[in-house]
Symmetry: C2
Subunit: 204 residues, 2 copies
DNA sequence: TAAAAATTTGAATATACGTTCAATAATTGA
DNA sequence: TCAATTATTGAACGTATATTCAAATTTTTA
């Protein structure tokens, strides 16, 4: 898009901003929004409290930015995986592989995301939850279209696409959480997850 | 066990206690721990702040009691379903039916539970998270034994029982959340969820 | 029925924390 | 080199809220 030149100043500013956000993310994921003070974020990111307020209007704003930007990144990571060419089966494998990678790369965000969306959320009032929910629905809709395509081409059985999308999402969630919870570093294979659903899905 | 007589006083005390807890649950599930004040719980439960402190040492203690007691109830609900006699398939259906009922009956608790266990939790310090995790592991272990039994009796394919348990849990979670999120009141059928996994599992 | 015991009340207290902003430091440009 | 501009600092302030406890109310006992 834009080919504007970015000054070193601006580059550094962005760098500092994202350092603050990443530091805050780790703290929030470990202790929860209300148990992390601006003081703590300042100390951990090696800035002063005042400086945080030059980057973000207030604590809510910081938190919102953090969630919003990571949701966007997560969502586009999944989207790209589905956009790559290939058969329905290959696309599903790509999608799962991308999801595995995204979970591993940013488990702190994943924790935050699920605790915000599943349950009580300080963001109900703000539009953030709506935004996150919309992206989730979009993801599901894309999966549904994929399954529908497979059904049309007669490689998948004619099952409810909504349930298929939910099932795939659910299977991958629990298995990924189980692995990451245990700090298991052995590779998680997309095919293991796919296989749990596939004999139900594939036409032999 | 105990056949001791319980006085009206004691009965009322327990009644009041559980009214407070249920009221608090709804508030916590809607707004999150830190956005619910003791004042708000007092008003909603029609007691004064001071009285809350006669029932619970402090706010943390109230919250802990609330989660702990509901986790226990949830857990034993699932356990009982598996203890009923029947084939592996029937037991799985019982388990799912019980889970559906428990979700519907106490969606507030379910929200709280998942946002506490998935993500950042104020309770990491206290032993509550450990307690909840232990009960979850126990549930999974029971499911695994069930699958293992089916495999031994040659009604199920010889698949990794851990993954099967996780998959069933994951499928039911996403589908249940999807339904309850949308306030859909049409019945959720255990068989729909089972069928998503079963063609993978059953030996034809 | 009245004293004693138990329970409830909510105003007062203490504290923790988000936010501000005047002072200081660092950077830039002439 | 030295103004001028920009960025950083953290002590001070105000507010929100968890907790306490003396007084008021209700219940029990004799």
């Amino acid at each position: 898009m834009s080919t504007e030149r970015i000054t070193r100043k601006q580059r550094e500013h962005l760098q500092h901003r994202s350092e603050i956000l990443q530091t805050a993310m780790d703290l929030f994921a470990r202790d929860g929004f209300h148990n992390v003070t601006m003081q703590a974020i300042a100390e951990a990111s090696e800035f002063s409290v005042g400086t945080l307020y030059n980057f973000f209007r207030n604590k809510d704003d910081l938190y919102r930015a953090l969630l919003s930007e990571n949701v966007a990144q997560f969502h586009s990571g999944l989207q790209n995986a589905l956009d790559a060419p290939g058969s329905e089966t290959e696309k599903l494998r790509n999608w799962l592989t991308a999801k595995i990678r995204l979970f591993r790369e940013n488990i702190a965000f994943v924790r935050l995301y699920y605790s915000e969306t599943m349950g009580a959320s300080f963001n109900v009032k703000a539009g953030l939850n709506r935004e996150m929910l919309a992206k989730y629905e979009d993801s599901l809709a894309q999966l549904e279209r994929l399954f529908a395509g497979g059904i049309r081409r007669k490689v998948f059985k004619n099952l409810d696409t909504r349930y298929l999308a939910l099932a795939l999402d659910g299977i991958s969630n629990t298995i990924l959480f189980d692995h990451l919870e245990k700090f298991e570093d052995r590779e998680i294979d997309a095919d293991v997850m796919l296989s749990l659903l596939f004999e139900t899905v594939l036409i032999k």
